[in-house]
């Protein structure tokens, strides 16, 4: 039985190898290699030498080979400001999602069952609409003569310049990723029993301390996964920044997109940026994970 059960994981393992592990290796290979010209004896040439040789002896005198290089990684450092900006905007969006989503999830979990389902539906509903469409909708709302400015115009306020700003990008992130914050929070809060809260009240804790000493510590796993689920897609988004940020608010995602599909075509650089972004995200996540179990360690030290 046990043996057979193990085999059931087979299809997915295969899937993982083909579509996760192999691409990861490819990205690694791309990031650390480049095409360099060689002469027929196998000597590496500079670009000028290669150009000269082609001029002298024709195309066939030079062949391109794939060689190891760290150049792309150095090149990425030029884009560090873009990475930091992406991280900053994603961080703001994540923080606001947490601030909005946390109380929402808490009260939702304390509502009566029927209401919980209705609210859950309302939260999920936008997610069933196409992502692009949702973001387009925000464009028409935020535009110079979009709905918001037209509405405010009725009261002789504005028009405000809202689209193509960092604020619009953050707004887009919050709107699109808020459900990913609320749902994991909601599901851990459902597991907090009313009697646990009553026990804290019984021992003298008023609402503030019930919150800080029981609800927040018990919802830490949800906070950690909510942060992950919002921050990761937000930091690497390119559609939101392109549509709501205009050309002026390029994020790291746009940069990668440009290297593969844009006019700056350079897959090696693109792969290197992706790799750096990935390492960056892994670092951030290990910090968030500290949130999750850091608590227990602290308690341990207090003893």
């Amino acid at each position: 039985m046990n043996k057979n059960a193990k085999w059931a994981a087979g299809p997915y393992l295969l899937w993982m190898v083909v579509f996760v592990i192999v691409p990861l290796i490819l990205i690694g290979v791309f990031a650390f290699t480049t095409e360099a010209p060689f002469d027929l004896e196998g000597n590496r040439l500079t670009e000028e030498e290669a150009a000269l040789l082609i001029e002298e002896q024709g195309e066939d005198a030079v062949e391109n080979k794939t060689v190891f290089t760290l150049n792309h990684l150095f090149e990425v450092s030029e884009y560090l400001p873009v990475l930091l900006k992406s991280a900053w905007l994603a961080l703001i969006a994540t923080a606001i999602c947490l601030i909005i989503g946390y109380p929402m999830a808490y009260f939702m979990s304390r509502f009566r069952r029927e209401w919980q389902q209705v609210i859950q539906m309302l939260i999920m509903l936008p997610m069933w609409m196409n992502f692009l469409l949702r973001t387009y909708a925000w464009m028409t709302l935020l535009e110079k003569n979009g709905w918001i400015n037209r509405f405010l115009g009725l009261f002789d306020i504005g028009p405000f310049n809202m689209i193509n700003t960092q604020g619009a990008v953050v707004l887009g992130m919050i709107y699109n990723y808020l459900p990913f914050m609320i749902l994991p929070l909601y599901s851990v809060m459902l597991k907090i029993e009313n009697t646990t809260i009553e026990a804290a009240q019984d021992l003298g804790a008023g609402s503030v301390r019930v919150f800080t000493k029981v609800v927040i510590p018990l919802s830490m796993p949800g906070i950690a996964s909510g942060i992950t689920m919002v921050f990761v897609p937000a930091v690497s988004t390119f559609i939101i920044s392109r549509m709501l940020g205009g050309g002026t608010n390029m994020l790291i995602g746009d940069l990668i997109d440009l290297q593969f599909l844009g006019n700056a075509y350079n897959p090696n650089l693109g792969a290197a940026i992706s790799l750096v972004l990935m390492v960056f995200i892994i670092l951030c996540m290990s910090i968030t994970n500290q949130l999750d179990n850091g608590d227990e360690e602290m308690e341990g030290k207090m003893l």
């Binding site: 646990t196 009553e198 026990a199 804290a200 009240q201 021992l203 008023g206 000493k213």
Partner: protein
């Protein structure tokens, strides 16, 4: 009222109905709880014991009626402001804290210095026999251990009143007896008022100053364990407090009752002539004697060994009688059932609860 101790908690005509239900959970409950008293709520599952505790603890609000603490109405005082601690039926321990921090929770809330906390928590863990488990997380503890953590967590705060909702339910018989003694000692030493819930009648009788028997959201009888056992006010109480033989009878006049086809002398009076009544005789009050015309005769149906005694079922006058006897009998044998007038308890047919008042004088005599 001079011999009565200070009332610390009073429930006055408390009724409560849960939303989306039409039968009341509590129906006109009135109950006085005195300083240092050990009060036990006893009754079958679903009779409203937990709900009564929740009202005292502040987790439920009565629809009508009042809850008084030292004479002041506290219906609307939130739980965290009440000088009451609770041992919850489902323990309700904090899953994110270890054993030590669970027990220390209340003391930390009231800002007791860590040094004193450490001393009190350790002492408490010693009492509930969990010393050495401080660092364990809750899910590493067995059900019975968790229950004892819950007791320690509430007791460590030295509350004026401790509410205990079946606090020993998950323990084996031996540990349960030890903890009963331990709890009773603590209650007396620290002068805490205990409101204790159990559906184990033996536990209720051995530990309490006052027993409150409840059924279907109503109080059936309030009294000392002796009162409850010896003078149950109705068939429900008689049956719930230990096994009983309950027979239909007719009260011919004071001190003379007819049942099982015979007239018997008894010690109860105050009934109307020829009033139908319930007659209760405890199984251990009946002695098996040789069959004769002097006593009620019957045929032994079954004999079961119960450890301390034999449970013998006798068919007499087409009723089954339960007899507890240290001597066995033979199935099919015709035997006589002997009991004295004092063993016959007469109860009104109606189930109107009679209230026997708890007084200090009485409990000190006992």
């Amino acid at each position: 009222m001079s011999n009565s101790k200070n009332k610390i908690i009073e429930l006055k005509n408390v009724s409560m109905t849960f939303r989306d239900s039409d039968t009341p959970v509590l129906n006109n409950i009135s109950l006085d709880i005195h300083d240092n008293e050990f009060v036990t709520l006893l009754g079958p599952s679903g009779c409203g014991k937990t709900t009564t505790l929740r009202i005292i603890g502040g987790f439920a609000t009565p629809d009508t009626g009042d809850l008084l603490f030292n004479g002041k109405r506290i219906n609307d005082v939130p739980p965290y402001k009440r000088q009451v601690n609770t041992v919850f039926q489902k323990y309700a321990l904090f899953p994110h804290l270890n054993v030590y921090d669970n027990v220390a929770f209340g003391l930390r809330i009231s800002k007791v210095p860590e040094k004193e906390i450490k001393q009190r928590v350790m002492e408490m863990l010693e009492i509930v026999d969990l010393a050495g488990f401080e660092k364990r997380t809750i899910d590493q503890m067995s059900g019975g251990q968790q229950q004892r953590i819950a007791i320690a967590r509430a007791l460590v705060n030295n509350p004026k009143i401790l509410l205990l909702d079946e606090p020993l339910g998950a323990l084996d018989l031996k540990l349960r007896k030890e903890m009963q003694i331990e709890l009773k000692k603590i209650q007396q030493r620290m002068s805490i008022t205990f409101v204790y819930v159990t559906h184990d009648q033996e536990e209720a009788l051995t530990m309490s100053d006052t027993v409150v028997v409840m059924n279907k959201g109503e109080i059936q009888q309030i009294g000392t364990p002796q009162d409850i056992y010896n003078e149950p006010v109705n068939a429900f109480v008689a049956n719930f407090i230990g096994e009983s033989n309950i027979l239909p009878g007719i009260m011919h006049r004071d001190y003379l009752v007819e049942f099982a086809g015979n007239n018997f002398d008894c010690v109860d009076g105050g009934f109307e002539e020829m009033e139908p009544v319930d007659v209760v005789i405890r199984p251990e009050d009946i002695t098996i004697v040789p069959a004769s015309d002097e006593v009620l005769n019957g045929v032994v149906e079954t004999v079961t060994f119960k450890g301390v005694h034999y449970e013998i079922v006798v068919n007499a006058y087409s009723d089954y009688w339960i007899v507890h006897s240290t001597k066995s009998a033979n199935v099919g044998e015709v035997v006589g059932l002997s009991f004295t007038p004092e063993d016959i308890h007469i109860m009104k047919k109606s189930e109107m609860p009679k209230i026997t008042r708890y007084t200090v004088g009485r409990s000190e005599e006992a």
